[in-house]
């Protein structure tokens, strides 16, 4: 039975199913708030679940001449990556001082898998728009990865450890990371990189519906598209949780107060994401590239230096 425990953690709670259902709910929040900002009414609460259900029912179209193996497995790779990453982040917080599967570096690498899935899927589609999307997705990864790594270092430098539990314990003892100057800058940089990872405006360059008709997703339909949508919904939950774990004192679900506090922290981040998303136009790929390797990396370096100085 011991072996089934991690499987349960992964599939039901707090992994795949829980994160997926909750993630889809927050996707609805996102759509509703965006609609209100744009003076629309917005969809009802069950819309995102209905979307997934409808997509599952629709036929799957595979572009002729594409590589079927890569085309079909690509979305599954992304889903597997985000499920395990999400499971790890939840479990270290719930389980307190027990690691599950891996440490900080493992999660960072697992979070690359959804992007990799988009790239493989786009490249395998045989569609020019998709290949442009794949190239852009990879270029974006190239751009935001350096600042992303650097700000995660700030937590590592402070705690001198790559274990999640050390980072959480440190924050319980010494106050949250974000309370320091370096922590604030690091959180801002993390937030910007998160937008790019989520492929949200102003960084939705690889998808860019209005110019490359959804980019990497152009050829996807039916159940495969549903899996991509689900992956993105899970990322909308997992990435802010990663930010909370690293800089905002972690997740406490042992009491009602803790859960409420966590919900508050998450909703603040989500609101910020939605605000940025619905008020900014899309950047060009070269602008985004320069933006990330210029000012954002600069900020990240400043935060690393401040951390080393102990500020």
């Amino acid at each position: 039975m011991e072996i089934l425990k991690p499987v349960f953690y992964l599939l039901i709670f707090p992994g795949f199913l829980f994160t997926g259902v909750l993630g889809l709910f927050f996707t609805w929040v996102d759509r509703k708030v965006t609609a209100r900002i744009q003076s629309r009414i917005g969809p009802p609460w069950y819309q995102c679940y209905a979307d997934i259900g409808k997509l599952l029912y629709k036929q799957v179209i595979i572009p002729s001449g594409s590589n079927r193996l890569s085309f079909i497995t690509a979305p599954l790779i992304g889903l597997a990556g985000i499920s395990v990453a999400g499971g790890v982040i939840w479990m270290v917080n719930i389980g307190k001082s027990t690691s599950f599967v891996g440490d900080l570096i493992v999660v960072m690498y697992l979070l690359v898998l959804p992007s990799l899935a988009l790239i493989i899927g786009g490249a395998a589609s045989r569609n020019p728009f998709s290949s442009v999307g794949a190239s852009r997705e990879m270029t974006m990864l190239f751009a935001y990865e350096l600042p992303f790594i650097l700000v995660i270092f700030t937590a590592v430098i402070k705690t001198k450890s790559i274990m999640f539990e050390d980072i959480i314990t440190y924050q319980l003892q010494n106050g949250v990371m974000v309370a320091s100057a370096s922590g604030i800058i690091a959180s801002i940089v993390f937030f910007i990189c998160m937008l790019a990872k989520l492929c949200y405006l102003p960084f939705d360059i690889p998808e860019a519906e209005s110019e490359i008709i959804g980019g990497t997703l152009a050829e996807y339909s039916g159940a495969l598209l549903a899996i991509f949508k689900l992956t993105n919904a899970m990322m909308l939950l997992v990435l802010p949780l990663f930010l909370i774990t690293l800089f905002l004192g972690g997740i406490d679900v042992s009491s009602v107060k803790g859960v409420l506090f966590l919900t508050f922290k998450y909703l603040v981040i989500l609101t910020l994401i939605i605000l940025v998303k619905s008020t900014h136009p899309r950047l060009r790929i070269d602008q985004a590239f320069k933006f990330f390797l210029g000012p954002v990396t600069g900020l990240a370096i400043i935060s690393v230096i401040l951390t080393m100085l102990g500020v």
Binding site: I105, I119, A123
Partner: protein, 610 residues
């Protein structure tokens, strides 16, 4: 059973001339049998060495110069790697090389090369090591120029000149150390634990770094590597990149971790060189269009990780470096063999000639993808585990000294990993997925070629998923004492969970009416679908290439400004040209020179005296 480790050297060296004179058809399988024999021998030796290292004197040349055999676990790991890759490369050659001429010479050189590499690692003293090192260099040189094309010969000469420069430095260092310590036996030297404090010691270490570094291909003396690797036949490239550069690393570990107890500054230099290799190697790889050249630049980059691991000066870092060395031999060998399979079919090295091969060459596609994921460090493949250990080494180093440079090295290593992924995405896209300009009517390669590829791919997965149970337990951790981990990684569980989540996604897919799968032409907004649409391999990273600073650097790199060989050649040629201007062939001018010389001489004598 008591097997002499010397057989590992003697068998290939003795059978090398035989392979030359044997008949065509027979010699291929003879060579395969010889390399298989070496592989089996090393497999037999391995368990014994794990329990007890071997070290004995072979014979005395003089009282002080003794030829010794030294086989500890570190050497054994490298030898197993050489024998394993050697066997697979030879098996692969039987099919790959069928269209070449003078194959007798090829198999002669191949066996000589493998034997010399084994010998270099087996040598317990610096002198015999150096002799076999040179045999290895010469064999590799002739293998690189095997095609006899102008490019190959140029690349071969470049490789030879650079290697020999390094070897000369190393010879000076070896002689110096012999005269200072009175012995060249590595084990004796290691037990004395020479500390580096004087200028002399630093120069000695610098010379050793140059000698081993040229072979290993570290920045800035890596420049032979991107020329020689593509020029050589693919199985030879797999050996050059898979194991020969590892022999350089092996010696580096011996010198920097066993013989000397270096000052902190040398660890700093190793880390700096390693990080620079990682970033510069991969940045150069990103813009390559020649598939093998791209892989060669990745060798520079991955060697950077190994050197960085050694430079951390922490056990877990060194163990990570050693593990990465093993992994690199696997996935880089596999990449060269996979790309070799493509070259074998398409007869071109340019990425723009490939495309859409995933349908026609599915085995090559899958093995190449596994290798690409491994080298990019995607969990749960083997490259991830070793990189993860090197990062831990750096973090532990940071907790000890708190140096800001350590953060820089760590950032370089992790960012380099993302760039590696970027580069291989391009390779996979251009070779296997994109729409080709003209469709290729090719078949999958024959079994003698794909079996080695599948074996290596299987090992890439095994060494990743069962990292704790197999490679770390048997090879790495026994070879590096005192490793303490500060991270947490359960590859088995992670793989299980990844597969379960993958299957769960698959169930969703199946639940969504699998029967209704429809094949339709790609949607291009109503336009006529043409193959030129989309993005070419050259244009995949145009955004990156067009950023001003990268553009300027790439422009300089194209002019070979950073190539130490090219630059020093230019300087040499310029000096010679200036000197040859004196020799105009005009007699009166020569007389002026003679008189001027005489005048200076007379002045010297009258003012300074004799």
């Amino acid at each position: 059973m008591n097997i002499s480790p010397l057989l590992l050297v003697i068998i290939p060296l003795v059978s090398a001339p035989l392979a030359w004179i044997l008949k065509r058809g027979l010699r291929e399988w003879f060579s395969v049998a010889v390399t298989l024999c070496v592989l089996i021998l090393s497999a037999f030796l391995l368990p014994g060495i794990t329990r007890e290292p071997l070290h004995y004197d072979l014979f005395n040349i003089t009282d002080n110069i003794i030829i010794t055999v030294n086989l500890d676990l570190l050497a054994m790991v490298i030898i197993t790697l050489i024998s394993f890759s050697g066997f697979l490369a030879t098996l692969y050659s039987t099919r790959y090389m069928t269209q070449s001429r003078s194959l007798g010479r090829y198999y002669f050189l191949l066996l000589l090369f493998i034997g010399a590499m084994n010998g270099t690692v087996l040598s317990g003293d610096l002198f015999s090591m150096f002799v076999l090192w040179e045999v290895m260099t010469v064999a590799a040189f002739f293998l690189v120029i095997f095609d006899n094309a102008v490019d190959s010969i140029k690349a071969g000469i470049k490789y030879f000149v650079m290697s020999e420069m390094g070897a000369l430095f190393m010879l000076i260092a070896i002689i110096a150390i012999y005269f200072q310590e009175g012995t060249a036996d590595m084990a004796t030297l290691a037990s004395r634990g020479i500390t580096v404090s004087s200028t002399f010691g630093h120069i000695l270490l610098l010379f050793f770094l140059l000698g081993t570094g040229v072979k290993a291909g570290i920045i800035p003396i890596h420049t032979w590597l991107p020329d020689a690797h593509p020029a050589a036949p693919s199985p030879v490239s797999a050996l050059l990149s898979g194991v020969m550069i590892k022999v350089g690393i092996y010696l580096m570990i011996r010198i920097f971790c066993h013989i000397f107890f270096p000052a902190l500054s040398w660890q700093f230099i190793l880390c700096a060189v390693g990080s620079a290799s990682i970033i510069i190697g991969v940045m150069m790889a990103i813009k390559q269009i020649d598939a093998k050249r791209l892989l060669a630049y990745h060798s520079v980059s991955q060697i950077g990780y190994i050197v960085l691991g050694i430079g951390t000066g922490v056990s877990v870092g060194l163990a990570g470096g050693l593990f990465h060395l093993i992994n690199h031999a696997l996935f880089k060998g596999l990449l060269f063999l996979s790309i070799g399979a493509v070259i074998h079919r398409i007869r071109s090295r340019s990425l723009s000639d490939y495309g859409g091969l995933a349908r026609t060459m599915p085995i090559t596609f899958i093995t190449c993808s596994i290798a690409a994921l491994s080298i990019s460090g995607v969990p749960p493949f083997n490259g991830f585990v070793s990189k993860w250990m090197i990062y831990q080494g750096l973090v532990q180093r940071f907790t000890m000294d708190g140096s800001p440079f350590t953060v820089v090295w760590l950032a370089a290593a992790m960012f380099g990993s993302a760039l590696t992924l970027a580069s291989f995405v391009k390779l996979i896209y251009a070779t296997f997925l994109t729409v080709p300009e003209k469709a290729h009517d090719v078949k999958e390669v024959s079994a003698a070629m794909w079996i080695p590829m599948v074996i290596m791919a299987g090992l890439c997965i095994t060494f990743g998923v069962l990292a704790w149970q197999v490679p770390l337990k048997f090879f790495v951790l026994p070879a590096v004492p005192g490793v303490s981990f500060s991270g947490y990684w359960q590859p088995g569980l992670a793989t299980l969970l990844l597969i379960i989540a993958f299957v769960a996604g698959g169930i969703i897919f199946v639940a969504g009416r699998l029967k209704k799968v429809v094949v339709s032409t790609p949607f291009v907004g109503g336009e006529e679908f043409e193959t030129e649409m989309g993005i070419s391999p050259e244009g995949f990273y145009n955004t990156v290439k067009n950023i001003e600073i990268f553009k300027a650097i790439y422009h300089q790199a194209e002019k070979k400004r950073f190539d130490i060989y090219h630059t020093s050649k230019n300087i040499g040629v310029n000096i010679c040209n200036a000197l040859s201007d004196i020799h105009t062939g005009v007699l009166p001018r020569y007389i002026v020179w003679v008189l001027a010389g005489l005048a200076i001489l007379l002045l010297w004598i009258s003012f300074v005296g004799f």
